[in-house]
């Protein structure tokens, strides 16, 4: 990892001493943020550290482990082209704060994570299904959702 990203991680852990955990990664600096501090952390990252460019929000299901879900955020510092990744781990009936107020581009990817994983984003302006029909049952990208079709006897 470059010197620059180490400095950034040092600054961030000093600013949020109780909420951050730096994790090993082979490509980008990565931290895990506590759910309670996520929104404050995102705002700090954007306005103070200059990570203004939104890249992606995705989720992963670690069923049957606890906490079950991992929401992964990717942002970019556009002038120096530095990528940064932060994650938030939640359990099945917990919600994460939405970062749409920080990066408006998170709107659709968060709806997608809601649609396909059933993760609830608190404060999202329009948390509805995006790909699947509104009356669809279940969340297909969950690991306990069957990959085969309906069984025909």
């Amino acid at each position: 990892m470059s010197e620059r990203s180490e400095e950034l991680l040092d600054r961030l852990t000093q600013r949020f001493p109780d909420a951050l955990e730096v994790v090993e990664s082979i490509d980008q600096p990565t931290v895990v943020v506590k759910r309670e501090e996520l929104l404050a952390f995102a705002e700090h990252l954007k306005s103070v550290e200059g990570y203004v460019m939104f890249n992606d929000v995705l989720a992963a299901d670690w069923f049957p482990a606890h906490p079950r879900f991992e929401v992964i955020y990717q942002v970019v510092h556009p002038e120096s082209w530095q990528r940064f990744r932060f994650k938030c781990r939640i359990d099945e009936h917990e919600a994460v704060p939405s970062v749409v107020s920080v990066w408006p581009g998170a709107n659709w990817p968060e709806r997608e994570a809601y649609d396909l994983f059933g993760i609830v984003f608190e404060g999202h302006p329009q948390l509805t299904r995006i790909y699947l029909p509104d009356d669809w049952e279940g969340h297909p990208l969950r690991k306990d959702y069957p990959t085969g079709g309906n069984r025909i006897d």
Binding site: F54, P104, G105
Partner: protein, 404 residues
């Protein structure tokens, strides 16, 4: 009816009861696929335009979890089916980054060559359909005709025109066929002449200029906030190109410029793409110079790349490797990685989480059109209905890419 005294225009508040909701699509030729746009109209003026997507959703991300890493390659083709090779490239680079595989230089150059040919083919379809949306029919036929020449080159190496899966983890599927260089050089010689013809048809054309200038403006701040990449952000004056900012597959050895414009409107995006085609041709020429007709096309690591066919018939280890790779696949060390390339529509990336097995645990495609399309309400607001069509064409979306 209340009117604005200064301009004599109808006040917006007075008309709030008379706005009309109209659906554009999902079956409409100018939405470039199955996109539905929910338009709120006040007469001819657009109050709001909300894209409704999901009509082409195919669940690729779930499918990928049931396939081995080599099989996943085939579904990357089908994401953005006009630019299959750049999707392949992003995916194989992501897997190679996880496994730390060195790919021979020659294979890297061939990857660059086809990534650029794909960009040309994709931009030709964009040019033809975008100009057709604006009312110019003839250019569409020329663009499709010339795109066919590129598809012939792709067919020559991969055997199929549309979903080639030519790039494999560890290198390429096959070596270049005999006589490929002659065919490719013929294309390189002909292409500037075609480009000149396209330019003659659109440059200075008052109808096209009027339909594009000052329409669907996107500023750089909005691009940052929505993750808009590719020609759309380069039209706002920022030379952001992943081929330059984080070079992959030996792009640092090629000389090319990154065309930019500053206006951020549909006209700027139009010319950024047109100039990009000239730059792509430069890269194609340089790549053809670097590629020898015969040579290495994949890594020699038999645990990853399939052995050549003739080796299988006479060598037991080769036969075992072939059997193991085809039936079980290869394991990828546990971890997660993100790798992006500059596709024709912007940053095409793959986020792969491996649990150490032969199938991906989580397979995420970061498809550029999805993020570009999100800005449609901003592009269309307060414009005219006809400009909605211009806006959709000018951000160059591909519904296979949006809906995955």
């Amino acid at each position: 009816m209340a009117t604005d005294e200064v301009h004599g225009l109808v006040k917006r508040e007075a008309l709030s009861d008379e706005t009309m909701v109209i659906n554009l699509g999902p079956q409409h030729p100018s939405t470039h696929g199955v996109l539905r746009v929910r338009l709120v109209l006040d007469g001819e003026r657009v109050v709001d335009a909300q894209p409704v997507i999901g009509y082409l959703h195919t669940g690729f991300e779930k499918t990928a979890e049931t396939l081995t890493y080599q099989q996943c390659n085939t579904i990357t083709d089908r994401l953005d089916y006009l630019a299959p090779m750049t999707n392949n490239l992003a995916y194989v680079l992501a897997v190679e980054k996880m496994m730390q595989i060195e790919v021979p230089k020659r294979a890297q150059y061939i990857r660059v060559l086809f990534a650029e040919l794909t960009r040309l083919a994709s931009h030709l379809v964009w040019l033809g359909t975008h100009v057709m949306d604006l009312g110019a029919m003839s250019l569409f036929f020329y663009c499709m005709r010339e795109r066919e020449v590129i598809l012939d080159l792709i067919e020559a190496v991969a055997g199929v025109r549309m979903n080639p899966s030519y790039f494999r983890v560890g290198g390429l599927a096959y070596d270049l066929p005999d006589g490929f260089h002659e065919k490719a050089w013929d294309f390189v010689k002909d292409f500037p002449r075609w480009m000149k013809m396209y330019r003659n048809l659109v440059e200075g054309n008052p109808l096209i200029n009027q339909r594009l200038k000052g329409i669907a403006v996107l500023d750089r701040e909005t691009c940052y906030q929505y993750g808009v990449t590719g020609p759309n952000i380069r039209a706002t004056g920022l030379a952001l190109d992943l081929r330059k900012t984080e070079p992959y597959s030996s792009y640092e050895e090629f000389e090319f410029n990154v065309p930019t414009r500053t206006e951020g409107d549909a006209y700027a995006r139009f010319w950024v793409r047109m100039e990009e085609m000239d730059e792509s041709l430069k890269i194609v020429e340089q790549a053809l110079d670097k590629i020898t007709p015969r040579g290495e096309y994949a890594t020699r690591d038999r645990k990853v790349a399939l052995p050549p066919r003739d080796e299988i018939y006479g060598n037991m280890e080769a036969l075992i490797h072939q059997f193991k790779l085809v039936t079980a696949g290869f394991p990828v060390p546990a971890g997660e990685v993100y790798q992006a390339v500059e596709g024709p529509r912007g940053e095409m990336g793959f986020y792969i989480i491996s649990d150490g097995g032969p199938k991906p645990y989580r397979w995420r495609a970061r498809t550029p059109s999805y993020y570009n399309l999100q800005t449609l309400p901003i592009l269309c607001r307060d414009g005219l209905v006809a400009d909605v069509i211009t806006a959709i064409g000018s951000i160059d979306i591909m519904l296979g890419d949006v809906d995955k």
